[in-house]
Symmetry: C5
Subunit: 324 residues, 5 copies
Amino acid sequence: MIRIVYFPKIGVPQFNLPFTSLRSALADPEGLVWVDMVESDADEINRVLVNQFHFHPLAVEDCQSDGYQTPKLDDYGDYLFLIIQSVIGEGSFEDEPTRELNIFLGKNYLVSSSLKKITAVEIFRKRLEKDERLYQNGSDFLCHALLDRVVDDFIPHLDQLEEEIDYLEEAVLSNPDPKTLERILRLKRYTMTLRRVIAPQREVINRLCRDDFPMIDPYSRMYFRDIYDHLVRIYDLLDGIRDMTTSALEVYLNATSLRLNEVMKALTIVSTIFLPLSFVAGVYGMNFHYMPELEWRWGYPMVWLIFILIVAGMLTFFRKRRWF
Amino acid sequence: MIRIVYFPKIGVPQFNLPFTSLRSALADPEGLVWVDMVESDADEINRVLVNQFHFHPLAVEDCQSDGYQTPKLDDYGDYLFLIIQSVIGEGSFEDEPTRELNIFLGKNYLVSSSLKKITAVEIFRKRLEKDERLYQNGSDFLCHALLDRVVDDFIPHLDQLEEEIDYLEEAVLSNPDPKTLERILRLKRYTMTLRRVIAPQREVINRLCRDDFPMIDPYSRMYFRDIYDHLVRIYDLLDGIRDMTTSALEVYLNATSLRLNEVMKALTIVSTIFLPLSFVAGVYGMNFHYMPELEWRWGYPMVWLIFILIVAGMLTFFRKRRWF
Amino acid sequence: MIRIVYFPKIGVPQFNLPFTSLRSALADPEGLVWVDMVESDADEINRVLVNQFHFHPLAVEDCQSDGYQTPKLDDYGDYLFLIIQSVIGEGSFEDEPTRELNIFLGKNYLVSSSLKKITAVEIFRKRLEKDERLYQNGSDFLCHALLDRVVDDFIPHLDQLEEEIDYLEEAVLSNPDPKTLERILRLKRYTMTLRRVIAPQREVINRLCRDDFPMIDPYSRMYFRDIYDHLVRIYDLLDGIRDMTTSALEVYLNATSLRLNEVMKALTIVSTIFLPLSFVAGVYGMNFHYMPELEWRWGYPMVWLIFILIVAGMLTFFRKRRWF
Amino acid sequence: MIRIVYFPKIGVPQFNLPFTSLRSALADPEGLVWVDMVESDADEINRVLVNQFHFHPLAVEDCQSDGYQTPKLDDYGDYLFLIIQSVIGEGSFEDEPTRELNIFLGKNYLVSSSLKKITAVEIFRKRLEKDERLYQNGSDFLCHALLDRVVDDFIPHLDQLEEEIDYLEEAVLSNPDPKTLERILRLKRYTMTLRRVIAPQREVINRLCRDDFPMIDPYSRMYFRDIYDHLVRIYDLLDGIRDMTTSALEVYLNATSLRLNEVMKALTIVSTIFLPLSFVAGVYGMNFHYMPELEWRWGYPMVWLIFILIVAGMLTFFRKRRWF
Amino acid sequence: MIRIVYFPKIGVPQFNLPFTSLRSALADPEGLVWVDMVESDADEINRVLVNQFHFHPLAVEDCQSDGYQTPKLDDYGDYLFLIIQSVIGEGSFEDEPTRELNIFLGKNYLVSSSLKKITAVEIFRKRLEKDERLYQNGSDFLCHALLDRVVDDFIPHLDQLEEEIDYLEEAVLSNPDPKTLERILRLKRYTMTLRRVIAPQREVINRLCRDDFPMIDPYSRMYFRDIYDHLVRIYDLLDGIRDMTTSALEVYLNATSLRLNEVMKALTIVSTIFLPLSFVAGVYGMNFHYMPELEWRWGYPMVWLIFILIVAGMLTFFRKRRWF
């Protein structure tokens, strides 16, 4: 699907410009064109990226590749090529957390391309129809606005991660079963994956606000710097969540050994009480012919007294040692 | 709330300058103006930061954002924009340890803004009324004095952290219960959070004393260098506290397994003494018709002798192995 | 074995050029020569690398050394010397994961040399016969195509690693025996070894796309950049696999202590039920002359009632503690 | 206490120069003055550092501060200000390991100041009276000689640390009690603290031998380089000691679990021998009317035979499993 | 011991040149002199290094110091001073792994000095007599050849380390006793020490092949680069060995807890079988007057049937849980 928006210098922006008018729109150096390609097949890719824009074959290939690609920024002179990762943001914390967005930034155009629909781009599209400030400052500002949208999408997702870790921190204390362990480890791995996405993404934006590119106005750099700050903050948050998963893991492992302690104490208390009792009972179960106690009138009650003394003594001992 | 202080080159400083006189005060290039905004709503922000000072929209937005923001320094040419974190400093070691202070530093003015009251700023305000040296050296020196106050506030808070870790180091030895574990982990996480605040703050101050900004006098740089040294020291202290929490954690985990050892030893000692005793008693409880010992005159005392020998032998064995 | 391919500027490429024509082919500055040496003995090495090309003795020595050599790039002015590691890619994850490929890159020639056959080179050779684009852009592009082939070979091998770790992640939960531990540790070590191969290889390619070498066309650099991106991605994947082996190890160790917990619980439950029961039975096995219960009509059933009460009480207690 | 030494270009050095002659001594550009202030109160500090030398207020404040200060080097143009940490070097490995020494290095003077007496300075003072080479090469060489003395003091202290770790490495094997754990952790923390002192100290000296200061002769730099090498070595040694404490900790924790193993084995051996024996004895303690074995002539000896067989079988089993 | 070799530009090299001819040999700018000092006393050091060569006092002091010194490179203008560590290479993996070699490299001379005999130097000396290429390319090449010999000596020693780790990896599985633990920890520490020697040594050689020194011919730099590659490889190998010791440690600790599991299982199996059996026997050992089972004709065989059922049931349960 190819969606073209044309913002002439003066006049009303044309959403849904037909493909046939693309060439003439691009010929207007004062105007601004945004070509958004979603779920495009090889034919569309060919028509737009190769025949119309003559982008470098490697960049076009990157747009078509469906494996994970690390965020990067390639400077092809006339245009910049960016690979950006946009968060998917569902609550499962499994598999790939992000979806790839490819962006070509030229003097008077912006081309975005993704193999699957990206929520951030759709939302951006809708805001564009209402907010004219977004496209009145040239392609670099439009690009900044799109990237800002993509990066802001990470924040609510990180809130989900924080909720999960909050839940897990309680769960390891109240209910430390293997399911909890699995969730901790899954969250930890997910966080690590996300960090490996954010780190190069941060570097891409850093280059946009630091390096000197002809299609980026020095004034706009401050805006990219703002996105950069957000990414630094996101990275910090991920660091915090990773630390918390590590702590949760430590508490979990400790809870396991605390449980073992509890079980062992129960065993020890029962054994150390009943083994002596059984011994005493065993003594008076012996069949010696000459055992004076057996014939005593108060022998039997006396043994019960011994039993009670043993139990009381043991319980006192355990209490002193604070075993229960 | 907007509080304006005006220090003319010559004459008495005017605390609580009315907002209407702000413009004329700023027009005096020899004077110095400090605008302090606390808990300001959108309207006040607009009136001062936008209409009066024409600060960059992104910086104004940063002043209004209520999420955590990493300390940073943005150079907007005519003025510097700083985000600084001031410690809250209560003893709970939970949640966010700091509160954000935004500072705009211009040639002849200093604007500070915070969403909530910051103790360090209030104290600074009071000192300002007494100590004229603070405002007689220009806006850069005033800014240094304010930052110095903010950074010095961390020191007593770190003392609290050290008290906590001192307490915990004793607690893990005397009373290693899960509550102690929780406090250790909370302190560790809090320390890590604080480190992530201090590290970029240190870098902000480092740039102030290293880079060449027109509104900072070369002579004043040495003073920022002094603040930088304090932050390096604070960071070092946090490193030390983190190491100590890690050690406390190790002792805690070891205490848990030492307890298990102690319990197991008790069980083992009782079992290995009474199982043989019970066996001997069981033997003479058998009902064989031909058991000569049963009919012996001294059979029963002999068995008691055996009992005593077994107990003595076992105790000797345990002592030798140093089990108690 | 020496295999020479000669691509004249105009005309049909000559696969299997005889060694005697090598000199004249090299004299053609417009042509392109690829000399591929596999399993060459000292004599062949001498004839080609020393007598024909006069390569530096150290580089020639590196080609002959059969120990592992870290990937590197040496600039000898007229030619570049590269040591590249190509993955072997069998499923055992033991020993050396790679085989060394030595490449000399000159203005109009490419010399590759390896002590053993390398699959990637053989496949590249076959593709070369079909795809003329590979040799029509000079020696740097030919070199890029060969390196691309070598690096792409790592991808399916990494898939094998991911399959292995997926299998192991399940195995540590379902069947945590020492064999599983061994496989986890082997995979971890293998991954670490591979990382140590990829990291310098990445740097070699980075220098090819970044530095200024006379035999590499600025236009070709973008292609080396593409290989570099692949290596960055491979390194990221290895990082991910390493994290996953660490997690698997943690689950494994926890599974071991969970098993211990399970065993201890069984012991504790049986002991705490039967020790009291045996004690009661022991009491009524005593031989005191005056034990009124023994003569009661319902004494024996009453004892069974006691037995049942004890068992029921204990089971209730265990259930409450959620021990089973 | 103020101690002034004056070394004229020609003639005898004047130890204990009266304070009143300080000004004239400093006026001699060919001479060299060393002012050593120990345990000076605010008045002395004021008289010397402020009124006489006019040092920067921040540097003077640093001299008076009694908290720990990170080693640093501040360049004030006419003079350098150094904060150096000198080791105290007692054997307890608790609290602060160092004492602060402040040094001002000018063209023809050296001012040292410390809140408490520093052994290295006292020793240096005595050597100065005997060794004229120390003061014949200007203030930079004198400063080098003092720093050399301070840094060399760390070496015997590190030997103490190595002795301690050697002792602990044996103790964890022979006597792994909680006291040993505490000493290991204390040594580890102490080593970490010392590393955090040495690292910035090394950087201070590195700047002295690398940067271009007017009061340091290029020829003298090589001598500072020598001190730098010593500090690098000290840092390496501390790294080694830290690694060894970590190893000792691992052995300690393992020793704890080995002890548990030993205890459990004893329990298991006794239980698995006596539980079957008691069962057999219990069988023949039953009161069934029809139990043929009870009436056998050799029934009782036969049971003893069974007892012996059970014990022998169990012991063989344990031996085979190498349990003792 | 002073051994002097003189290689005139033309003519036969003079091994064992008398000391008296050293001055004239050095006066020949075309010739090359190698002075090798082994186990030299202060007098020899003085005669050669101080009186003849006038080396810097600090460098001479470094030659005489007998503590460990980190490898370094000092540029004294006319000559370079290197501290290099040569491996001792015995199989014990204790104490210091290396011996110090001091090298002075001048335009037409090479001075090597060591407190104890170094095997690599002795072997180099012998090769020198046979291989004239080593001294025909100037002092820098001679120095390279010596360093090459020293660095190559590490390789067989690393093979010893790999043999040790291979042995230990098997030992932790087959025989995980404390001796094995000790050997693992010793190897780990030894590897760490060696890494701390190799890292600065690598940097020394890196400077030799990267920086611009007058006594090193640009052509020779490639040879130093070759040594550098070897050191990079050695460092990589040490990293690998360290990883393997860490793995071995993990397997060892796991083996300890596996053993505990095995012991506990044995205890549990025996207890859970015999405690119920003993209870049943205890029941029929009670002395109640009215116990109908006691008088049954088949009571006793019935009890044996119960015994057998209990054992069979328990064994089935254990098998199902895969406890043996």
